[in-house]
Subunit: 505 residues, 2 copies
């Protein structure tokens, strides 16, 4: 009974712009600590899957290359990627993962984790998952319910058949100590019902009752149970629209997992629906493990406020900021200088190429800005100024008619793929380290302070054989500079060398 | 009786940050139209000084190179610069200019113009100055009084002995037509008193009275009268502190104009005082020419609001901005993307390297931000990302340990000085146009797409002999990249080739 982590990497990150972009949703950002939410989720998954387990990441086609580059750069290579032909919410995504697990392990248990939250309780987290795994062995769908800390109306609530055991309640009462007795076992409790985002009064009542828990979005279940409960929901509730597509979803997921050809159209036809609506809320085999984790949702830009303590006027400065006389204001800048003066209840979020200034109580409406940027085709919606690659990173310094200038950093022992361009030549000037360059049949080193020229059409590759990061400035010149003008002849990182939408480098 | 324009280029521009910087005060910005306020002031001066007149600019030492580069780039070469050893407000500055004029022209008339306002009435402006020149011929100090458009408490008010003539009042009433009869002569009227920044009630009374005018800061007077009235004020008002330094001021100004050595200490010892306080308010020989000019002070960042009409909610977007649901808000960006969401009464002013977000009613307090930046030694206080030069401009793209990358544009037929560096080498990659390069004894062309290398110590120069702008990317590499590592061997623009504080290029 091996454990298979499934991490859902969907989410367009529109509520986190300008920090997040379409190709850098919030789970890839390293805003909350040294690691991204995604890398931290992978690490948490490793803590519980053990030697026989494995990790799958379900990701959309648009984000796949970026995500893999990101995890490779974070040192996470042994991950299986399940690429969704199109985003269809969590029911199809989880079905796909369950079908894939099932083919490899008939008794496999799926630990499904979203990638857009912060969770820092290592030991307690592991005990929680262990309790959920135990609860899932009978074929139940086991949710993780967080002990509510406030009557927050942004959460879904899970109503358990009874409150957690006395032992657990005591533990929860001392939640800040983190000194947890392993003797107090957590257990999975049957679930009575789910409520999505209640009104304030209802939420107050739930919290007072003691047997309601926040829905964390995490789920533990046997892979076969996930598919079976989708099918059962459709059979038992033929009148519920959310379950109407379940049979098709399961069939499509099984077909894709079996390697069937031409499944894209079937996938595209699936209704986008959450696993909560399609199965959890309709099943009579759902449990919850109440848990008091140091967990938080990263729902909107106000989450940034956790990064700095407020001053006496409620002003938080993160980065290069300066404030004079503001109140209850966030001044966040990733690299530039931002000055705030006399503001009340304002969020300022500044990145290298875009800035958002919003009323603090409108943080949830950043998607309206994103909608407008999408209408305009604004490039600032798609990509950050710096992009991670498995070999390092690159930053666009400037771009004009006929040329663009990038700064490229190559990690020690890393190499870019052998490639050529049909419309642009490139100058490489080495800033630090030594570049080992291949140019058609030539192989030579370029030391710091030196440069080399790569004419249009030449096959070239860049390698760092040294032990410090190699940094170069690349000046590309040509009448067309699109990233799709690239032919790859190999790739050290196993990325496709023949695709319609190649990733730069 | 030649006319000598004197333009005061002082002012640290602290109320206009981040658009203005210490080396780019607001009078050098091209924010309000195609030309900077300074270049527009020079143009206005040329309209009235005629064939026999000339133009002097009084400027502080710190700003001198930048200002001259700026005016050279704007095509204004035939200007005399009077460099103040240290800023001492307008009384010493004007005395210095008057003494300099006096040495060249004993009967010279000074037309003193500040450089930090917008004035667009060509023909009416010329008639106003002509009336002031006529009024100054008897030795009077002639101010230009603006017909007040509102009881603005930010202005100083000039009380005339009587209101303007009926003919003028009629003209003022039709101020929007600009169809002015030359027959209606403006005349200079004796001044009764000055009031600085009255309270609101007083300002209302002044505007209702009809014989009060806004003090424009412009002044027309014989050069000898300027010095004489400074001296007379000191003699007639020995108890007024503002006039206590006048004799020393005049003596120092005459000494500097006469080319005396070692005048810096004497200048440093002068009290910083405005000409208004030191002379105008104390003199019995002051007149005012009432004028109804299309004139406006550029006092604070709210002046930017004139650049765009507001939408129905009072939102003005200038540049790349996007707004959702804000009210009475300015979204100004010079090149980056700025999104505003749900704001009320906020000013956002975004530049390439710094952003200010301020409550709209705190625009006057930007100096508090500047004070804080000065305490921190923030480079964003000193210089913009792009600097104009007589030969074109340069933009810092990025700067790191051991290297920096600039984009340089050289105008057709322009050339950078022959120079060398002791601590850095440079790579030039030509993006557009053709570079004619001198490197020690070599002379060669570098075409677009090509590059060249300038080792440490080589004497080099860059020239554009073509008829389109030459654009290059310069990657400088070295252990010290300060702009003071430059030795100039010539300079096509007559700039000093041997100075302690050289200007880059």
């Amino acid at each position: 009974m091996a454990l298979h982590a499934v991490i859902l990497a969907g989410g367009s990150g529109t509520r986190f712009w300008p920090l997040s972009r379409e190709l850098a949703p919030k789970q890839l950002l390293t805003v909350f600590g040294d690691r991204s939410l995604m890398a931290a989720t992978v690490e948490r998954a490793r803590q519980v899957t053990g030697d026989t387990g494995d990790i799958r990441v379900v990701v959309g086609g648009v984000l796949f290359d970026e995500l893999r580059n990101h995890l490779l750069a974070a040192g996470d290579g042994d991950i299986a990627y399940l690429v969704e032909p199109a985003p269809r919410n969590t029911a199809p995504a989880l079905a796909l993962a369950a079908a894939d697990v099932l083919r490899a392990d008939a008794d496999g248990i799926v630990i499904m984790l979203p990638s857009d939250h912060i969770c820092q309780d290592g030991e307690r987290w592991q005990r929680t998952i262990a309790a959920a795994v135990a609860g899932a062995s009978d074929g139940s769908l086991v949710t993780i319910g967080l002990v509510p800390r406030s009557p927050d109306t942004a959460f879904g609530y899970i109503h358990a058949a009874h409150a957690a055991s006395d032992g657990f309640a005591e533990e929860a009462a001392g939640r800040d100590s983190h000194a947890v007795s392993p003797a107090r076992a957590m257990t999975a409790i049957p679930v009575t019902s789910f409520t999505e985002k209640p009104d304030a009064e209802t939420a107050e009542r739930y919290v007072a009752a003691g047997d309601y828990y926040w829905n964390s979005g995490m789920l533990v279940a046997r892979a076969d149970a996930i598919l079976r409960e989708l099918e059962r929901a459709a059979e038992r509730h033929p009148d519920v629209p959310a379950a109407a597509g379940n049979l098709a979803t399961v069939a499509c997921a099984r077909a894709i997992a079996a390697g069937a050809a031409d499944t894209d159209a079937a996938w595209d036809a699936l209704p986008p629906v959450s696993f909560d609506h399609a199965a959890l809320e309709l099943s009579d085999r759902v449990k919850v493990v109440p848990a008091d984790l140091d967990w938080s949702d990263v729902g909107s830009l106000t989450s940034l406020e956790r990064l700095a303590a407020p001053d006496a006027r409620g002003v938080r400065i993160i980065g290069q900021g300066v404030d004079v006389d503001s109140r209850d204001t966030l001044n966040y800048s990733s690299e530039r200088l931002v000055a705030t003066l006399g503001l009340d209840d304002v969020l300022v979020v500044d990145t290298a190429d875009a800035t958002l200034v919003a009323a603090r109580d409108r943080a949830q409406d950043v998607r309206l800005v994103v909608d407008e940027l999408r209408r305009r085709g604004a490039p600032e919606l798609t990509q950050n100024k710096t992009s991670l690659r498995p070999w390092g990173s690159w930053t666009m310094l400037t771009r004009g008619i006929g040329y663009q200038v990038k700064e490229i950093e190559v990690a020690p022992a890393a190499r870019l793929s052998l490639q050529s361009h049909t419309r642009r030549s490139e100058h490489w000037i080495v800033i630090a380290g030594t570049a080992t360059v291949t140019r058609d049949t030539e192989h030579f080193d370029v030391a710091a302070g030196e440069s080399t020229f790569l004419p249009i059409g030449c096959k070239h590759s860049l390698e760092n054989r040294g032990d410090i990061p190699l940094r170069i400035v690349e000046v590309a010149i040509g009448d067309y500079l699109g990233e799709d003008d690239i032919t790859r002849y190999d790739d050290p990182y196993g990325r496709s060398v023949d695709t319609d939408t190649p990733t730069p480098y």
